[in-house]
Structure formats: structure tokens, C-alpha cells
């Protein structure tokens, strides 16, 4: 499909509608695709008459990401050690559960659940679009690797999840009991309210007694089933000799229940079955929402999945067999295909290798390694196939150590949350003392009934749930809204720290710049057409595995180039390569001084020379492009009075010119920084104020973890979330300023909630002390205070709402 772009006509890929510049597309049977991945998916859908996929996608107006065809060998999924752990088989049907990357719209849900109709042996597929996990059931004979391959061909990356009997059901059963508790509490509260209102409205005589008994009967399941979590936490707290908010709650519930039963038996009139069931229901409900809101952001997977989640080719008596990562030990010889991630620290066996070591150095420039040198786990082999000997695995590898250290020092609760708990503790102590005091005092003064009534009123009304809910609730809304605009925040303490940040350190690669080493500028000084120049250069670079060659080839494969055969190919070490095409010999390599163009100083320059005439024909400038919007963003942060630093592994020149563009003082520019240096820089800055670090989730992991607030841009989700506090799924850093305003505003909301709940509690207790408040009024007043706190958190502040006005993510 053709659309008129500004400079040149742009085409739209028929699969993912990605715009591709003219003559760079891949054509097959008059359809246009941006990459082979999209072409294959399109053909698979075609052959199984699943074209509705596109209809559903268009209806929903969703956008699919281009299919990145990662080479994956899933044969490891077929050996029985994998099956025993990841597959559950019962009466002839085996079930496996995958976390599926690449799901983003209804069309994917439709396609995944349609797989049984075109994959042999698959009987059912059910996707949970909430957490992108899918459960597949298939007859015994089918091989799981076949299923995994089919999914990858469709453009989805499956990651197997533990599926054995116990863990799978345990987690599900726990969720279900939680729902059951809330449901029962809600149902009985509703029905008890029926009988309570009848009694308040004047039902008397036999009806009154009848209704009391029915309320008693309905309250039993609530007090003895739904409220169990409160008793458990109270017992734990008592065992650990600390005060927890659940203690007064449990006392109020049990005390209320037994007192009401006693007064019912003795014909008394003060019954609180309605208040205590309302108490149980409301608190269970609010805790459920707090858990749901905070949990949705994170899917914490264990450390080992990072390493052993992929299959590895291990040499077994001469032949290379695919084995699951878990079963590789030191000293094994392994073959690493091109494009595969190395998951151990290995020593290179074949003579040369080209790897992308960005996970360690942060620089995406390809790195050449010669035999005998070590390759770190986490780096990606972007050169040809290599064989290597495994030196260290798992936690012993260099990256493993970093991750281990990060996980060990997991961040504790934030300061305000600690402050809230501390105040709550004192408050609880005060409440307990007051209740006993009022109990004794009114017992002497007014007798048992009044004493119990007053004590119960005090304990119910003073329950600091408003206090306990104030802080987490104000975070829920902000976290929810941030999540919906692509910012995953680990926990609420992060938002507090942001408010006190003074220094901001920005990493270059991946944060300010695109992070990809690509051709930025092409100048054609010769009389030939651009395409011809590209074809020649492409032909020259065809067989070279030099890092620069790889970036050039990536640039070239977007064009339809003619292929030339080349003769007497020569590599001139450190300078470039020479070869002759159709009798004319060319040189592609270092540009000599004369032709260097000053404006492109900080980029590496490659020139194409006609060997005979020695005149330059064209130059390619390669470098790392600045992200759009980076400059305004930096200016905004500077205007806000933060002291900005740039720390990057790149060389001095690049960092200096970047600093000049962004207007940052030269002493705040730090170049050639290894992860360890960055951590050290943070340590020094920390003395003079809180430090916020924005970096690439993978290589800056150590620094991000050291910083008071670490923001990871890009990089693998699970690794970066472990290292940093915030993960930006959208790579545009405009979101950072939104983050800072949200943090400030949320803090205001917290203080407002705090003030309110303390005022409410003190007023309530005072009123209850001298008997103005009956337990019923208390029971109504207490949820009222929680409701107002909830409302005030969800209302937020004007500025908070303004910055989310643009895309109002609905917090479902």
C-alpha cells in the first residue's frame, strides 16, 4: 500500500502497517512487507484462512509491532526433564503454560485461541490477556517444541512457566479463597443490614428476637471464616511482640461479636452484628484493591529464569545436541549460533567472534573478540557461529554477581510508609489504653452495658484504617495512572524519594540517544546513482564481519540492491577492505584527513574510494542518533533547578559534543564510565543530596541500584525492574518530568489524607469517650472516613490530573 511521505513515497507493510521508505520493502505476490517476519506471518495466516485477524485488528484500531524474527531452538522442550517440571499431564491431556511476549490486542487473543484449529495435536488454547499467560492443552504425542516454533513463526515469543501441580493450584486456590472471603462478608453484611434496619425501624416483640437470632446466625461465617486473615496477622504481630493495625480490628470484631451474642442472650438491645460485618467486609475489600493495584505492575520472576530459560547446543561425543540451560556444567563445549544470547561466562574456542556486549559496557558498538578471551554472560553473538568452553555459570558469572547483589539489597519500605506505620503503632497503643480506661470508668459509672457500648464505640471509631489506607491509596491512583502511561513504578516509597532528588544522572546510550549504532548520514560525491553506490559497498562488506560492516549491512538491507560478484577481496587491518567489481577496484574504509567533514566530527566516518583514481565517491557517517524531544526535556529539567550529569561508557569526544548540544556544564560530563565507575560517581554525589539515575536497564543495573531513585529505560523488563525502581516501557523520556510532578502532587495528597485521618480519629475518639457516639454511629462513621480518604486520593490534585489529562488511562 502506498502513501505519499514528505521526501519520498512511503509504503505501509501489509502486516504491521509500519511505514517503510520506497524501494526498501520486501515484495511477495503483490503484498508489501517491512521484514521477512511479517511476510511469514502473513503467509501463515493466509494458508489457514485466518484473514479475520486483520479485520479484528482494524476494528479495534490496534497497532501491531513489527515481527522480530528471533532465531530460537526449542528442541530442549522435548526432553523429559523439561516436561516433568513444566508440563502437567492428566488422563491423556498434557497442559503447558507460557508467558507470551508480543500480545497487545484482541486480534492476538483471537489468533492464539484459534491455534488449535491449525496446529496438529493442540486441543485447546486459553489466553489470559491480563497477564499475557496462555495455557495450552494438547494430546500426548505432540511435541512442545513444535508448538513453541509455531508461536514464534506467528511472531510471539513463548517463555515456559512452572506448571507443576502444586505451585499452579496453590496460587489459584489462594486467590479463590480470598475472593470467597470477601464475597461471603459482603453477602452477609447486606443481609444482616436487612434485619438491623428492621430493628432500628421499630420491629418489636417476637420479630425483634427473631431478627437478632438470624443476624447472629449470618454473622458466624463472617467472623469465623472471612475475618481469619485479621486474626492471623494479629497473632503474628503478638508473637513478634509488635503492635499491628490488625490487633484492634480483631478485638473489635471478636469483642463485638461475643458482646452482641451475650447481650442478645440476656435480652439486651445493643447488637452490633451489622457494624462488625461491615467492618470485616470494608477492610477486606480495601486491602484487596490495594494489593491488586500494586501487584499489577510487577511480575517478579526468579533470578534463574534469566539464565536457564533458553536451550543451548552442547557438544556430546562430537555432535551438538540441544540441552536445557540448567543441565550445562563447567568445562562443556557449547556452540553459540549467530544472534543467540550467551548465558554463561565462556572462553572463546573458535578464532574470532563479534559480540554486542551492551549488557556490560552499555555501548552497543559491536566488539571483536579473539580466541582465548572470555565472553560475558548476557552478551549477544552478532557475528557468525562460534564454539566456546563454559567457564562459569549462573550466579558466578559477572552479570550474575551484579544481579545477586541487587536482589540482596532489595529496597525496604519507603520513609512515609514507615512513618505512617510508626504513627499507627502509637495510635493503636493509645486506643487500647483508652478503651480499657473507658471500659473501667463507665463500668463503675454506668454499669456493664454502657461500658461495653462505649468501649466498643471507641475501638471501632478509632480504628486507624483511614490512617493505614491514607498513604497506600493515594499511591494507587498515581501508580495506576503512571502505569497506564507506560511508567511501571516498583513501590510507593519510590515516589517519596523522587521529591527529595537534587542530582539527575542521565546515561547516554539508550536514554538520550537511540542506542543503536546506525548510518546517520550518507553523502554521494560521485556521478553514480545512490543505489549503485550502496550495491558496491554492500558487495564489499558482504563477507566481512567487522562491526562497522554489520551496521552498514543492516542499513543496506532496507534497499533492493543488485548483487555484484567480487574478486581478490583483501582486508587491510585497521584501515578497511579492498576488492574489484567488474574490473574496477574499490576501497571501503578509513577516510583520510582531507575529506573529513568538520560537522560530523564525533561520528565514525567510512569512505568509498575508487582505487585507480584515488578520488572519494561517497562517505557514510555512523553514530548514535539523539532521541527526539531529548533536548527540550533536558532544558525543562534544568529549568526546574536539578543539577544534571551525563555519564556514559562512550568516548570523551562524543560525550563532550552531546553535552554542548544539551547545554550541560562541562564538569558534569563523565565519559568512558564502566558500570563500577558510574556506581562510584553516584556514591560521591549522594553526599550532597539525593541522586536520580536514568539509564539502560541492562548495563547500568549496578548504578541504578546504587542511586536513590533508579529509572530504567529499555532493556529486559525483569532484569531492569530488579535493578531499578522505575521501568519506562515507552522509551521516550518526556515521561520523566511527568513522573516528577506526579511524585510532588502525590505527596501533597498524602499529607492531606494524613491530616484528615488524624483529625477524624481524634475527633471520633473524643466523642466516643464521653458517650456521644453509639457503636452503630461509630460503625457508620468509620467507613465514612475511609471513603472520604479514598475519594480524596482518587480526586488527586488539579495539577496531578492536568498532567494525565492527555491520555486518561482508566484505572479498572
Amino acid at each position: 500500500m502506498e502513501i505519499q511521505g514528505q521526501k519520498q513515497t512511503l509504503l505501509k507493510c501489509d502486516h504491521c502497517e509500519e511505514t517503510i521508505p520506497k524501494d526498501m520493502e520486501i515484495v511477495s505476490q503483490d503484498h508489501v512487507f517491512c521484514c521477512h517476519g511479517c511476510k511469514t506471518v502473513y503467509s501463515i495466516l493466509g494458508s489457514n484462512n485466518l484473514q479475520d485477524f486483520y479485520k479484528i485488528r482494524d476494528d479495534e484500531g490496534a497497532k501491531i509491532a513489527p515481527v522480530n524474527k528471533k532465531v530460537q531452538d526449542f528442541s530442549y522442550m522435548d526432553d523429559d526433564s523439561f516436561i516433568s517440571e513444566f508440563v502437567m499431564t492428566k488422563n491423556g491431556i498434557s497442559t503447558v503454560k507460557f508467558y507470551i511476549e508480543g500480545i497487545h490486542c484482541m486480534a492476538c487473543l483471537w489468533l492464539i485461541e484459534k491455534t488449535p484449529s491449525f496446529i496438529q495435536g493442540l486441543t485447546s488454547a486459553r489466553l489470559n490477556i491480563g497477564d499475557n499467560t496462555a495455557v495450552f492443552e494438547f494430546t500426548e504425542q505432540t511435541k512442545i517444541s513444535e508448538l513453541a516454533n509455531a508461536l514464534t513463526r506467528l511472531g510471539y515469543a513463548p517463555h515456559p512457566l512452572k506448571m507443576n501441580e502444586s505451585s499452579y493450584n496453590l496460587q489459584k486456590r489462594e486467590e479463590r479463597t480470598e475472593l470467597l472471603r470477601i464475597g461471603l462478608a459482603g453477602a452477609s453484611m447486606g443481609n444482616i443490614m436487612l434485619y438491623a434496619i428492621s430493628n432500628y425501624a421499630g420491629a418489636d416483640g417476637f420479630y425483634r428476637i427473631l431478627f437478632n437470632w438470624i443476624s447472629f446466625a449470618i454473622a458466624i461465617p463472617v467472623i469465623f471464616y472471612s475475618a481469619i486473615p485479621f486474626y492471623k496477622t494479629s497473632l503474628q504481630a503478638i508473637r513478634m511482640r509488635t503492635l499491628s493495625i490488625d490487633i484492634p480490628l480483631s478485638i473489635a470484631m471478636l469483642g463485638g461479636f461475643f458482646f452482641s451474642t451475650a447481650s442478645m442472650l440476656t435480652g439486651g438491645d445493643a447488637l452490633y452484628f451489622d457494624s462488625i460485618t461491615a467492618l470485616v467486609f470494608l477492610i477486606l475489600l480495601s486491602r484487596y484493591f490495594v494489593k491488586k493495584a500494586t501487584q499489577s505492575g510487577l511480575n517478579a520472576k526468579g533470578l534463574q529464569t534469566f539464565f536457564t530459560n533458553t536451550g543451548v547446543l552442547k557438544e556430546v561425543d562430537g555432535k551438538f545436541k540441544s540441552v536445557h540451560g540448567k543441565y550445562i556444567s563447567q568445562g562443556d563445549r557449547v556452540k553459540i549460533l549467530s544472534g543467540e544470547k550467551i548465558i554463561f561466562d565462556v572462553e572463546l574456542d573458535s578464532d574470532k567472534a563479534v559480540i554486542d556486549n551492551s549488557i556490560i559496557t552499555g555501548e552497543s558498538k559491536p566488539q571483536e573478540v579473539i580466541a582465548g578471551e572470555t565472553l560475558n554472560a548476557g552478551s549477544i553473538n552478532i557475528g557468525p557461529e562460534i564454539t566456546a568452553i563454559v567457564r562459569t555459570i549462573g550466579e558466578q558469572t559477572r552479570i550474575g554477581k551484579i544481579i545477586k547483589e541487587i536482589e540482596a539489597s532489595s529496597k525496604g519500605q519507603g520513609k512515609t510508609v514507615l512513618r505512617a506505620d510508626k504513627i499507627a503503632k502509637y495510635f493503636i497503643a493509645l486506643v487500647l489504653i483508652l478503651t480499657t480506661y473507658i471500659g473501667i470508668y463507665s463500668y463503675i459509672q454506668y454499669g456493664l452495658h454502657e461500658a461495653i457500648a462505649r468501649a466498643l464505640a471507641v475501638i471501632i471509631i478509632s480504628c486507624p484504617c483511614a490512617l493505614a489506607m491514607a498513604t497506600p491509596l493515594s499511591f494507587i491512583k498515581s501508580l495506576g495512572q503512571l502505569k497506564s502511561s507506560g511508567v511501571l513504578v516498583k513501590n510507593e516509597s519510590v515516589l517519596e524519594n523522587i521529591n527529595e532528588v537534587k542530582h539527575i544522572i542521565l546515561d547516554k546510550t539508550g536514554t538520550l540517544t537511540e542506542g543503536r549504532f546506525e548510518v546517520l548520514d550518507f553523502k554521494n560525491m560521485s556521478s553514480m546513482r545512490d543505489l549503485e553506490i550502496h550495491s558496491i559497498a554492500n558487495a564489499l562488506e558482504a563477507r566481512s564481519i567487522h562491526p562497522i560492516a554489520l551496521s552498514l549491512k543492516e542499513y543496506f538491507n532496507r534497499y533492493r540492491l543488485e548483487s555484484f560478484s567480487i574478486e581478490n577481496f583483501q582486508i587491510i587491518n585497521g584501515l578497511g577492505i579492498k576488492a574489484t567489481i567488474d574490473g574496477v577496484s574499490y576501497f571501503l574504509g578509513k577516510v583520510n584527513k582531507a575529506h573529513r567533514d568538520e560537522s560530523l566530527s564525533q561520528m565514525t566516518l567510512v569512505g568509498l574510494y575508487n582505487e585507480e583514481t584515488k578520488e572519494i565517491m561517497a562517505t557514510y557517517a555512523l553514530g548514535d542518533k539523539l532521541k527526539d524531544g531529548a533536548i527540550e526535556k533536558v532544558e525543562e529539567l534544568l529549568a526546574k533547578g536539578f543539577s544534571l550529569h551525563i555519564a556514559s561508557g562512550d568516548n570523551e569526544g562524543v560525550v563532550r559534543s552531546l553535552g554542548k548540544d544539551l547545554g550541560i556544564k562541562s564538569e558534569n560530563l563523565h565519559a568512558e564510565q564502566s558500570p563500577e565507575d558510574k556506581a562510584h560517581l553516584i556514591a560521591t554525589l549522594k553526599e550532597s543530596g539525593k541522586v536520580l539515575m536514568v539509564g539502560d536497564g541492562a548495563n547500568d543495573a549496578l548504578a541504578l541500584q546504587k542511586a536513590d531513585v533508579g529509572i530504567a529505560v529499555g532493556g529486559a523488563v525483569d532484569l531492569s525492574l530488579r535493578a531499578s525502581d522505575i521501568f519506562l516501557s515507552t522509551s521516550d523520556i518526556k515521561v520523566i518530568s511527568k513522573l516528577i510532578t506526579t511524585a510532588a502532587e502525590t505527596n501533597k495528597v498524602i499529607i492531606r489524607n494524613f491530616a484528615f485521618s488524624i483529625a477524624y480519629n481524634t475527633a471520633g475518639v473524643l466523642l466516643a469517650l464521653n458517650g456521644y457516639v453509639s457503636p452503630l454511629l461509630a460503625a457508620i462513621f468509620m467507613p465514612l472516613s475511609s471513603v472520604t480518604v479514598v475519594l480524596s486520593s482518587f480526586m488527586g490534585t488539579r495539577r496531578l490530573n492536568k498532567c494525565f489529562k492527555v491520555q486518561q488511562g482508566d484505572l479498572k
Binding site: D52, I56, M106, L109, W110, E113, R126, L127, N128, I129, G130, K172, E175, R176, L179, L180, G183, L184, A187, N191, L194, Y207, L210, I214
Partner: protein, 50 residues
């Protein structure tokens, strides 16, 4: 006003039935995944006669 002795147990029984349905539904895993059903019901199965 003694109809209460008939209506009340009836209301309790009816309430009990719906609580039983609720327990069965939660135990049966109806509420494990509350995001996908709303989308899954939109897909019509296509005709296999051809």
C-alpha cells in the same frame, strides 16, 4: 403480620441458593481471569460447513 414466618425463611433460602452459586462459581475458577471473557465473547466462530 405472620406472613413473615413464610417470607423470611423463603428469603433466607433464596439468599442461601445464591451464596451456594457464588461459592461454586469461585471454587470452579470462574473469577480467576476477569479480563479476557469480555473480549473472548466478541469472537464469532466461523462456519465449518464448506
Amino acid at each position: 403480620m405472620n406472613i413473615i414466618y413464610f417470607l423470611l425463611p423463603l428469603a433466607l433460602v433464596l439468599g442461601g441458593v445464591f451464596v451456594a452459586f457464588f461459592i461454586w462459581a469461585t471454587k470452579n475458577g470462574q473469577y480467576d481471569d476477569l479480563d479476557t471473557p469480555a473480549k473472548r465473547m466478541l469472537f464469532d466462530d466461523e462456519n465449518h460447513t464448506n
